[in-house]
C-alpha cells in the first residue's frame, strides 16, 4: 500500500514540474510559433552546414536527421544536439520571448476583418516553408508532394469521411486530372514530338496553368458521375467494388492510349508547379473544402451518412448531395493530379493503381475521418514517415502497416477524427482566453 501511495506522488511532482515548464507556452498564439519556426529556418540557412559538419554529418540533415540516424547510428548524439540547437531551442526561445508581442498583434488583428489576419499568417507560413525547403532540392520536392497529398487526402475525406461511402475511385480521378493537365500544357506550351509545336507562346503558360488545372478537375468531376450514380442505390462493399473497377478502367484506358505514351507514360510537362503555386492551390483547397464542410449544405453529407431515411424526411435532397460530394471531391483530386504531373514532369498509368489507392486511403484513415485537421496531419505525417523510413528499405513496408494497425486498434476513426476546424479560433490571441477562465 505504501509503494502505491508513493508512485502517484512522484508522478504528480513530475506533472507539476512539466506543467510549470509548459504553462507559459499555453499562452503563445499561432503567430508566436510561426515566428519561432521562421527564426529556426533562418538559423538553419546560415549556420546549418557549419553545425552539421561539427556534429559529423556531411551536409544539413534533410529530414530532421532521421535518415542519417538509421544509416549511421553512431551519429545519434550529434543529430540530437543539432535538432536541439537548430529547431527546438530557437522555436522555444522565440515563441516565449515574443509572447506578449505576438499576443498583442493577434489581439489587434482580431479587430480587423478576419481575412487580413489569415493572409498574414499564410504568407508567414509560406516564408517558413520556403526558407526551410530551398536549402535542399530534396526538401523542395518533398514539400510539394506533401502539399499535394494534403489536397488528395482532404478530397477523399469528403467522400470516405464526411459522407461515409467507401470509395476507391480516387486514383482514377487523380489520373484523369494529371493526364488532362499534362496533355493541355504540352499541346499548348511545349514543342513536343508527339503533340507538335507549341500553339501558344510558352510565356503565357504560368498564367493559363490554373485554367488547365481547373479543366483537369472538371473532367475528373464529370467522370465521377460514373461512380456517384451507382452510389444512389448501393452503399458499403458494393460501392467499394464499383469504384475500384472505375480506377482499373481508367488505368487500363490510359495504358492503351498509345498516342499519350501508353504504359510507358507521358513526359515533357513544363516546370509550372513551383513551390508557391502548389502552396497556393493547397491553401485554396483547404479553405474551400473547410468552408463547405462547415456549412449546412456540407453537413448534409454527415446526415446522409448517419441516417439517409432521416435526411430524406428532413428535406435533404440525398441524390443531389451525393452527386455534389463526389463531383466536388473528384474536382480537387483532379487538381491534385495536375499539380502532381507537373511536379514530377512525367506521368505513367502505373502510378495510379492499387498502390496509390492504398497510400491515399492510409493517409485518410491515419489522420482521421471527418476532420480537416486530421487530413492535414494524416497527409503530412504519412509522407514524412514514409520518407524518414526510406533507408530501412523493405522494412518500411512492415513498420508503416504495423503503425496503421495500431492506430486502427487504439483510435479506430484516426488520430484527429470528427473535429471541426475553425481558423478564427486557431489564429486568435491566447492571453485573453486565460482571463475568461
Amino acid at each position: 500500500m505504501k509503494t502505491t501511495g508513493q508512485v502517484p506522488a512522484e508522478q504528480n511532482k513530475f506533472k507539476t514540474y512539466r506543467n510549470k515548464l509548459w504553462a507559459p507556452y499555453r499562452q503563445v498564439p499561432i503567430l508566436g510559433w510561426l515566428l519561432g519556426m521562421l527564426a529556426s529556418a533562418i538559423l538553419e540557412t546560415f549556420t546549418g552546414t557549419y553545425f552539421a559538419l561539427v556534429f559529423g554529418m556531411s551536409d544539413i540533415p534533410a529530414l530532421f536527421g532521421f535518415t542519417v540516424v538509421i544509416k549511421q547510428p553512431l551519429l545519434i548524439p550529434g543529430v540530437i544536439t543539432y535538432i536541439l540547437i537548430i529547431y527546438v531551442l530557437p522555436i522555444a526561445i522565440v515563441a516565449r520571448l515574443t509572447r506578449s508581442l505576438t499576443n498583442y498583434i493577434a489581439g489587434k488583428l482580431q479587430e480587423y476583418p478576419f481575412w487580413i489576419s489569415a493572409v498574414m499568417h499564410i504568407v508567414l507560413f509560406y516564408f517558413i516553408i520556403n526558407t526551410w525547403a530551398v536549402m535542399n532540392d530534396y526538401r523542395v520536392l518533398l514539400a510539394k508532394l506533401m502539399l499535394i497529398a494534403i489536397i488528395v487526402t482532404l478530397s477523399l475525406n469528403v467522400i470516405n469521411g464526411y459522407m461515409g461511402e467507401f470509395s476507391c475511385s480516387h486514383p482514377g480521378f487523380i489520373a484523369l486530372g494529371a493526364y488532362t493537365a499534362s496533355i493541355l500544357t504540352v499541346l499548348f506550351f511545349v514543342n513536343d514530338s508527339v503533340l507538335g509545336a507549341a500553339l501558344l507562346p510558352p510565356a503565357l503558360a504560368p498564367f493559363l496553368f490554373p485554367v488547365v488545372l481547373i479543366l483537369g478537375g472538371l473532367l475528373a468531376s464529370l467522370f465521377s458521375l460514373l461512380v456517384a450514380i451507382p452510389a444512389f442505390r448501393t452503399r458499403g462493399d458494393y460501392l467499394a467494388i464499383i469504384s475500384l473497377a472505375f480506377t482499373f478502367i481508367i488505368k487500363s484506358l490510359l495504358e492503351n492510349l498509345q498516342i499519350f505514351g501508353g504504359a510507358r507514360g507521358f513526359m515533357n510537362q513544363p516546370d509550372l508547379a513551383t513551390l508557391p503555386v502548389v502552396f497556393l492551390w493547397t491553401v485554396l483547397s483547404v479553405w474551400i473544402i473547410n468552408n463547405f464542410v462547415r456549412s449546412t449544405l456540407g453537413k448534409a453529407l454527415n446526415a446522409v451518412r448517419d441516417n439517409e431515411t432521416a435526411a430524406d424526411a428532413m428535406t435533404i435532397n440525398t441524390k443531389k448531395t451525393k452527386m455534389t460530394a463526389f463531383m466536388f471531391a473528384a474536382f480537387w483530386a483532379g487538381i491534385a493530379g495536375g499539380l502532381f504531373a507537373h511536379v514530377m514532369r512525367y506521368v505513367n498509368p502505373g502510378s495510379f493503381g492499387i498502390k496509390k489507392l492504398a497510400e491515399v486511403l492510409a493517409m485518410v484513415y491515419f489522420g482521421g475521418l471527418n476532420s480537416v485537421v486530421g487530413s492535414i496531419v494524416g497527409a503530412v505525417g504519412f509522407n514524412l514517415l514514409s520518407e524518414m523510413l526510406r533507408p530501412t528499405q523493405i522494412f518500411k513496408w512492415i513498420i508503416i502497416p504495423v503503425l496503421l494497425i495500431l492506430v486502427m486498434i487504439f483510435r479506430p476513426t484516426g488520430l484527429i477524427a470528427f473535429r471541426e476546424f475553425d481558423p478564427k479560433k486557431l489564429l486568435r490571441a491566447k492571453n485573453k482566453m486565460e482571463e475568461d477562465k
Binding site: I288, N291, F292, S295, T296, L297, G298, K299, A300, N302, A303, R305, D306, N307, T309, A310, A311, D312, A313, M314, T315, I316, N317, T318, T324, N370, F418
Partner: protein
Amino acid sequence: MPLLNVEHMTHFFAGLRAVHDYSIRIEPGEIHGLIGPNGAGKSTIFNLITGVFKPTEGKVFFLGKDLIKLPPYEIAALGLGRTFQNLRLWRHMSVLEHIKMAQFSQITYGLIGAFFGTGKRNRQEKENTEKALKIMDLVGIGKLADQLVPNLPYGLQRRVEIARALAVNPKLLLLDEPTAGMNTEELINLINIIRHIHERTGVAILLIEHRMKFVTDLCERIQTLDFGEIIAEGNAEEIQNNPKVIEAYLGKGVKT
C-alpha cells in the same frame, strides 16, 4: 381545403397486404390519433404519406398537391415534418446541427456560398441558428445546443426529433410513437410539450400511439387500425367503448 387528404390508400409488400383502403382527412390545426396493435400498419401509413414507400393504390393529397409522384425530401419541404418510431438521429451531430439541418430546403446561398463563405452564407447561417434556438426553446432543449445527440438521455433524444421535425416549418406534424420507452413522468411532460407546440404554432398533428392516456388526452379524433384496415373511428370516448377496438387489443370474449 383539407390539409391532408388520403383516399383509399392500399399498399402491398410483395404479397402481403400491409394497408387496405385507408382514408383520412385532416384540417389545419387538428390533432388526430392513430392507434392499433403491433403490426397493424400504422408506421407503414406514415411512410406512405411521407413518400418513403409509394402506395400500390389510392391517392394522397397535401394542400391539394398530389404527393404520389414527389420524392420524400420535396414532400417534407411542402410542410410535412415527422419523427420516427425508433429514433433516427445523426449520431455525430450536435443538437443545434440537427435542427439547422432540417432547414436544408430553406437555404438559398447555394454551393458558391458554401464554398467561398460569402456574406450571404454567413447571414443565413446566423438567421437559421437563431430560428433553431427558438424551436429548441419551444421543446425545452434550449440549453443543449452543443451536446452530441448520443450523449443525451432517451427522453431528450425524442424531443430533439420533435424539434427537428418542427424545423421543417411543418403544417402537419407526424409523430410516430413519441412516448415509446418513456416513464409516466416523461409522458406527462411530453403531453404538455405537444400541447404547448400546438398552441404556439397551430400545427396540425397526426400521432401514432399505444398509450391510451396520451391519445385520449390530446386527440380530437382517433382512428383504430387492425391488419391494415380502419376498424373504428371517432372521438376518445367512442373509441374506448367500441367493441371492435377492445377485441383488437384484448381478444374476443372479454366483457366490458
